[in-house]
């Protein structure tokens, strides 16, 4: 048996899963806070801001994530070529293009995509807080900012945990999509090794990894839900 090949395969897949985990956590790190101003923009009384945020959300939620990954990764390069054809050369874009890499492109595309979904969840949560909470806070002299962060947001967090759990589980699986722009995450590595070894094992291992990962996510969210169940 090519024992060596299997060891090498396992090592490669370990590297791949680290990449998948990095993508997962970095996307959450950026998308969770980014979604808040987007939700605010969507709910703004300023019609222009609310309207343009809505268009942004419609586009992001209405087009495939894979397409968005391609646009973010290939976009800058195509833009530089387009500029050149128009007779322009702008140093900044050349620099951006030369620096542009697959991994950051994947993180940016995923973060933007997920912040759109999170923003809609936040918005639903914020709009579900009864008017009386704002009124009580106002009468007690809380400023609008204090009201939001002390009174509204903590209650929103509790309400959105189940919906966020579903999205995060989807994210675990969506990290596999970044292979379309050549990021060597777990599924891409598994696919390569599968054709190299003529074996089903790499794909099976990848499947187990995603499954366990989502098992952990489910447990974490169940725990969070329980932790927040001290009131209703």
């Amino acid at each position: 048996m090519d024992f060596d090949k299997y060891i090498k395969m396992l090592k490669a897949m370990l590297d791949g899963s680290v990449v998948s985990l990095e993508i997962f956590f970095l996307t959450l790190l950026f998308a969770i806070p980014l979604a808040l101003p987007i939700a605010m923009g969507r709910m703004s009384k300023n019609k222009l801001l609310a309207g343009s945020t809505n268009v942004f959300l419609l586009i992001i939620r209405g087009t495939p994530l894979m397409l968005q990954l391609l646009v973010v990764y290939f976009g800058p390069g195509l833009f530089v070529i387009w500029l050149k054809n128009m007779g322009y050369e702008i140093a900044f874009f050349n620099w951006l293009n030369s620096w542009w890499k697959r991994f950051p492109a994947a993180i940016i595309a995923l973060s933007i995509n997920y912040s759109a979904y999170f923003a809609e969840i936040y918005r639903g949560g914020i709009e579900s807080i009864p008017k009386g909470q704002y009124e009580a806070a106002k009468v007690l002299g809380f400023t609008p900012v204090q009201t939001f962060f002390k009174i509204v947001l903590p209650q929103v967090v509790k309400r959105i945990v189940p919906a966020m759990g579903n999205e995060v589980i989807t994210l675990v699986k969506d990290t596999a999509l970044v292979s379309i722009i050549g990021v060597a995450e777990l599924l891409m590595v598994a696919k390569e090794r599968q054709s190299e070894l003529f074996s089903f094992t790499p794909l099976f291992i990848a499947g187990v990894f995603y499954f366990i990962m989502n098992w952990g996510v489910s447990l974490a969210f169940a725990k969070l839900e329980k932790k927040l169940s001290y009131y209703h």
Binding site: G132, Q133, E135, A137, K138, L140, G141, F142, K150, Q155
Partner: protein, 253 residues
Amino acid sequence: MENTEQEIISIKNLRKSFGNTEIIKGISFSVYKGEVLGIIGPSGSGKSTILRCISQLETVTDGSISICGQPLVTDGVYVPKNQRHDIVLKSGLVFQNFNLFPHYSVLKNVTAAQIAVLKKSPEEARQTAMELLERMGLANKADNYPCELSGGQQQRVSIARALALKPEVLLFDEPTSALDPELTGEILAVIKELAEEKMTMVVVTHEMAFARDISSEVIFMDGGVIIEQGNPVEVINNPRTERTKAFLARFNN
């Protein structure tokens, strides 16, 4: 006599419209220190709207409101925003459905604004809160959450929460309407006790006997205007106008 008393609330010619519908059609009254003003009237007559205008939850269309001599709005023109914040703290509002903060313990409901708004130290705030909860008979519930309390207990917490900011006047908007009949008594007793301690209050209520017992003055309003105003026993036992009579007749049987 009025000159020697401190005017806590002064309302002159108050008007309020929602869209094209005028709900408050020119109302004037004053509340002096230590007085309890009872407001009675049929549903939709604008009682809550008046309290909400005083608490800055609604913007008046016209007229003047001053609290403790500080004008909030004069002939429909509001003072700048930064002055309105001080004025909001001069009155406390107790809602029909309590509006407690569900994610805060009972204690934190009463300390939160003291700390965040009055910038009191947590220790000082806690002490004030515990004294108030003691008075409300809820000291043993300090660590519970609102969802673990009965409606009557929740309403007492909300009264403590309002009192914690030491307002000059407490406004009650039908404080017992959301409660089961057997729980209204405990809230009425608390308000009565506050009246005996000379807390200035405006109480909107459908409890006629209660309004008569605690008020120093009663206003009967209907359709956005004051129909009758005066001594509570006079207004409630011997109403002068037909509208007041008709309204009260429904409560006496």
